[in-house]
Structure formats: structure tokens, C-alpha cells
């Protein structure tokens, strides 16, 4: 109503659109400043001969990376992170694919209840809310300070959402392919391996990347379950670098942050170029 009335008053549309453009430019500039300013340090400090907490044009050097390579925990922690991330990724992708496939194709009694129950469970029993009982459980299983224990906990936490997403992919693949393969005498597991898995490869890639990024940046699970400094992943070692008393070793911290961040940035660039970072069907209203 009010809109129609205003139209009859003939607002100078040209003038309003100029103001609109200016508002958009101002907002975008503010957003860039808000998101970029905290990240600048990560770009300048690692290459500065004397990094402080400020952002300044660096006094160029690669010496910080040499110091980093001499630190006994830096390299081992990155290796540990790779181990945890790859282990969890393989476990989650493989188990979720098998479970999603059979839930998609066979009518197991209570299938929908299982699916929604799983999803509900993983949103409720988060690593944070359940840190005390998980610590207790791992203590009872004698898995404290054991990297496989961390992989098990992380895998259990990521599986429900992975199954849920993969089942959508499996549901969308036509069953006629499998039927023809069966006609030519393929066994059910051959059908799974040679027909179904190649078709749902984009779904598997999504889950794999998602699990990888999740575990790579995980802090809490390893922080509560691991003790031995040589077993800690990069996320926890990074925290100990700056939280333990005394003067923070900024040359080390800055170089380490950059090295630890690079795989995520690379993965982002890869995914963005290949698939584009968009929600398509996955999360519908």
C-alpha cells in the first residue's frame, strides 16, 4: 500500500539509486575491512625479521621458517595432524558410504528412525557437551594419550551427518544401472564397487573434504585426550606455543600459523575452482 502511494508521488528514482549504490559500496568496504584486518598479520609477520603483534610492512626474511624447522614439536605436530585427518577421513568416508548405500537400497526395519535418530544424536552429543563422559570412556578403555583413540572419537562424531548427506546422493542415483549390472551377473559387492561408487564420487569427495577440514582444525578432542607433546596435533601445539607462560615466541608462532593454514587455503582454492562454494540442494530450507 505505502509502496504504491510513494510511486505516485514520483520519487526521483535516479537519485535514490545513487544513494543505494553508495550504501552498497560503503557496506562492502566495511565488510572487507572487518574480515581482512585480523588476517593481515598472518601474511606479514611470518616474513618479518622482527615480528611483533602489530601489522607492518615486513623487513623481509625467511629466517622464521628456518627457526620453525628447528623446533622439535612443529614438524611432528603437522605429521600427527595429517595422521589424524587422513585416518578419520578414510574411516568416515568408507563407513558412511557402506551404511548410506544399504540404507538407501534395502528396507531395513526402522530405517527412517535410524536416520533421523542418528542426525539428532550427533547434533546433541557434541564434543563440547560430552567432553567429560568421552574423557571417562577413553580413560576406562585405556585410550588416553593414544592417537587411534582420537580418530575413533572424531569418526563417531562425524559419521551421522556423513551418512545423512551420502544417503541423499545414493537416493539420487538411478537403480536401473545396478539392475543391468545384476543382469550381467555382477555380485552385489561388485555392483557397489564398479557401478555405485563411481557415480556417487562427488558425494564421497564432499564428505572426504568436509571430514579433512574438520579434523585438521580440531582442537578440543586432542587437547583432552592426548598428553605426550610428541603426539599432539598442530592445533594443540599452536595453542601451547602462545598460551604457555613467558614471552610468546612470535617468529615461531607466525611461521607455524602460516604453514598450518596453507593446506586449508589450498583446499579452499581447489574446491572453489572445481565445484564452487555454494549450497545447491544439500541444505534445503
Amino acid at each position: 500500500m505505502s509502496a504504491r502511494m510513494r510511486a505516485s508521488v514520483k520519487t526521483p528514482i535516479r537519485a535514490r539509486s545513487v544513494v543505494g549504490r553508495l550504501a552498497i559500496v560503503a557496506f562492502v568496504a566495511a565488510a572487507v575491512a572487518f574480515w581482512a584486518l585480523p588476517m593481515l598479520w598472518l601474511v606479514t609477520a611470518p616474513f618479518d625479521a622482527h615480528p611483533g603483534l602489530d601489522v607492518s610492512w615486513p623487513d623481509w626474511t625467511l629466517d622464521n621458517f628456518r627457526k620453525l624447522s628447528e623446533n622439535p614439536y612443529a614438524f611432528s605436530s603437522l605429521k600427527n595432524s595429517v595422521y589424524l585427518a587422513v585416518g578419520t577421513m578414510v574411516g568416515v568416508t568408507a563407513m558412511a558410504a557402506l551404511a548410506a548405500y544399504s540404507l538407501s537400497r534395502v528396507r531395513i526395519p526402522g530405517r527412517n528412525t535410524i536416520l533421523y535418530g542418528l542426525l539428532l544424536l550427533s547434533s546433541i552429543v557434541t564434543g563440547t557437551a560430552a567432553m567429560v563422559p568421552i574423557f571417562q570412556l577413553m580413560f576406562a578403555l585405556n585410550l588416553i594419550d593414544d592417537r587411534s583413540g582420537v580418530i575413533l572419537v572424531l569418526t563417531g562424531g562425524l559419521l551421522p551427518a556423513a551418512i545423512f548427506i551420502l544417503k541423499d546422493f545414493m537416493d539420487a542415483t538411478p537403480k536401473s544401472y545396478e539392475e543391468s549390472a545384476r543382469v550381467f551377473g555382477a555380485t552385489p559387492l561388485q555392483v557397489l564397487r564398479h557401478v555405485v561408487l563411481p557415480i556417487v564420487r562427488p558425494g564421497l569427495a564432499t564428505i572426504a573434504v568436509w571430514a579433512l577440514v574438520n579434523v585438521w582444525s580440531d582442537f578440543l578432542t586432542s587437547y583432552i585426550l592426548l598428553r605426550d607433546p610428541t603426539k599432539l596435533p598442530a592445533g594443540v601445539v599452536m595453542y601451547t606455543f602462545y598460551s604457555e607462560g613467558g614471552q610468546a615466541n612470535l617468529p615461531l608462532i607466525s611461521a607455524f600459523s602460516l604453514v598450518y593454514a596453507l593446506p586449508v587455503v589450498a583446499l579452499y582454492l581447489f574446491v572453489n575452482r572445481r565445484y564452487g562454494f555454494r549450497f545447491h540442494g544439500g541444505i534445503k530450507s
Binding site: 509502496a3 510511486a7 552498497i24 557496506f27 562492502v28 565488510a31 572487507v32 581482512a36 584486518l37 585480523p38 588476517m39 593481515l40 598479520w41 598472518l42 609477520a45 611483533g52 603483534l53 602489530d54 551404511a99 544399504s102 540404507l103 537400497r105 531395513i108 539428532l120 550427533s122 547434533s123 546433541i124 552429543v125 557434541t126 557437551a129 567429560v132 563422559p133 568421552i134 574423557f135 571417562q136 570412556l137 575413533l152 572419537v153 563417531g156 559419521l159 537403480k175 536401473s176 545384476r182 552385489p188 582444525s217 582442537f219 583432552i224 598442530a234 599452536m238 595453542y239 602462545y242 600459523s257 593454514a261 586449508v264 579452499y268 562454494f277 549450497f279 545447491h280 541444505i283 530450507s285
Partner: protein, 293 residues
């Protein structure tokens, strides 16, 4: 649901159950068992060390009674509410929608650049972004002070709650931005066009054309980001709950009490309260999801 699910691959029920089993076993062991265990542990005086470590006593609802009168717990509950309200329901939703809305009408290159920044803030490891913010907010040459001309302000000590709220808005807006840009893509351009021709301003377009189309998305987004923010542990990496409990949200409170302070029984009782709150949010969400299928 009409199920015409002829078992196309000829798996058979038994093999199908076999394929689901490994996943179900892991999920049971690491999600179901801990959840149930919380209920039991929450009713004991279990401690990490001392007599109660070897021989915990059943204390019934004592831990819950203690929680209700514990000023630290009540403080923490209040801070968590502020954190979720400020950084998720207001911060991420408003920023995410504003970005999704404005980025439709800027050049592709600018759009890509801004989205990349917001997404990086979301996917970089939490201990890196936490340190970046420690440096950014530091009183000793931090960039924020340089920008605002407020030399020497220690933001994390002087304004800890405001700091972690702004931090989490920065950290998590990407999800709302992605969700809302997908939602806005589904709004028929013809309707926006005719509203504009009828002289509707931006606000009127948003209220009368856009909102009815994306109401479901707004609800989904609010529930999910509230759940995640409620369970977010990264305030610990910035302030460890301090100074003097001033930014001790519930997850940090549980860590400090149970795993650092050793009061596992009491910590479990608080964990149980957290699980209940998660359950309420998640039930809403799953109901929404089922209705829309």
C-alpha cells in the same frame, strides 16, 4: 512415503545390516554411551584425584542442586545466552543476510573476493584464528587499536564478552551468507522487479517479497547456528574464560570445572544440562527437516 524400494543391487537384508553395522557400532560407542554415561556420572561425586576418584559415591541430584545455587554456573549460563544471542542470532544472521543481499549487485570479482575472505575466516583452524585475534585485539601494537586510535586498550581483558561476540560473528558468518545466498537465488526475480516498478524501496521489497520466500531458511539458519555457537569451544582459546570468569561460557565452564579442576561428577551434571538444551534445539530442527521433505 511410498517405498517401491526393490532391492536393486540384490544386497539382501542380512548383508545390508552388515554394511550398516560398523558405523552403528562406532556411533553407539562414542555418542550413545557417553550421553548415557553423563546421566550416571552427573549423580556421583566423582573426582579426577583423591578418595572420590577410587570410590565415587552416588549423590543423587545433589550436583544439580549445587549447580542451581552456584553463582559461577548461573553467570556462565547468562554469558552463554549473551554469546548465542549476540554473535549467532543477531551478529551472524544480520551480517550473513546483508552480505548475501548486497553481493548480488556487485561485480563478480569483488563478490568472489569478499566471499573468499568470509569463507577463510570460517574454515581456518580455530587455534590460528584465535591467535590472529589475540594479536589483533592486543594492547601491545594490536591492529584494532591502531585503526581506532585507542592505543593500549587490552580488548580481551577490558571487554572480554564483547570481544568473543565480535570474534564469533567474524568466524561464523560464512554459513549464514551461503545459506541466504542460496535462498535469495530462489526468489523469483520477476516478483522483485514488479515490486521495484511499483516503487517499493529496499526495505519494502525485503519485507513483502523476500521474507515470505525465505522464512524457512531463516528458521533453519537460526537453529543451526545457535546450536553450533552454544557448543563452541573457541572462546577458551581467546580468553580461557577469564578474566575472573567474565567470558566463561558453558563449554569453557565445564572444561575448567571438570577436566582442569577435576570435579568430574559436577562437570557431568552440567554436561547433562547442556545435552538437554541441545536436545530441545535439535528436536525443533529435525521436525522442521521432516516437515519439509
Amino acid at each position: 512415503m511410498t517405498v517401491t524400494s526393490v532391492d536393486a543391487a540384490g544386497l539382501g537384508r542380512r548383508r545390508a545390516v552388515g554394511l550398516v553395522a560398523p558405523a552403528l557400532i562406532l556411533v553407539t560407542a562414542f555418542l550413545v554411551v557417553p550421553a548415557v554415561w553423563t546421566v550416571y556420572l552427573g549423580m556421583t561425586d566423582y573426582r579426577l584425584t583423591g578418595i572420590q576418584a577410587a570410590n565415587p559415591q552416588f549423590v543423587g541430584l545433589e550436583n544439580f542442586r549445587a549447580a542451581i545455587v552456584d553463582p559461577d554456573f548461573r553467570n556462565s549460563l547468562w554469558l552463554t545466552l549473551l554469546f548465542v544471542l549476540g554473535s549467532a542470532i543477531i551478529g551472524q544472521t544480520v551480517a550473513g543476510f546483508a552480505l548475501a543481499w548486497t553481493l548480488r549487485s556487485v561485480p563478480r570479482l569483488v563478490r568472489g573476493g569478499v566471499e573468499a575472505l568470509v569463507l577463510l575466516a570460517w574454515i581456518l583452524p580455530s587455534s590460528i584464528v584465535a591467535f590472529l585475534w589475540v594479536a589483533y585485539l592486543s594492547g601491545d601494537g594490536g591492529t584494532l587499536n591502531a585503526v581506532l586510535q585507542t592505543t593500549g586498550t587490552e580488548w580481551l581483558l577490558e571487554h572480554p564478552m564483547a570481544s568473543i561476540i565480535v570474534f564469533n560473528t567474524w568466524r561464523g558468518t560464512a554459513f549464514s551468507m551461503l545459506l541466504f545466498s542460496a535462498a535469495l537465488g530462489a526468489v523469483p526475480p520477476s516478483q522483485l522487479e514488479s515490486a521495484r516498478l511499483a516503487g517499493a524501496g529496499t526495505f519494502a521489497q525485503l519485507r513483502d517479497v523476500v521474507l515470505p520466500h525465505i522464512r524457512g531458511h531463516v528458521l533453519t539458519n537460526t537453529l543451526l547456528i545457535s546450536l553450533w555457537t552454544f557448543n563452541d569451544f573457541s572462546p577458551y582459546l581467546l580468553t580461557a574464560g577469564g578474566p575472573n570468569h567474565a567470558s566463561e561460557t558453558l563449554p569453557v565452564f565445564i572444561y575448567n570445572k571438570a577436566l582442569y579442576g577435576g570435579q568430574l561428577g559436577y562437570g557431568s551434571a552440567i554436561s547433562f544440562i547442556m545435552l538437554l538444551i541441545n536436545l530441545i534445539i535439535a528436536l525443533f530442527y529435525v521436525r522442521l527437516l521432516r516437515e519439509r521433505r
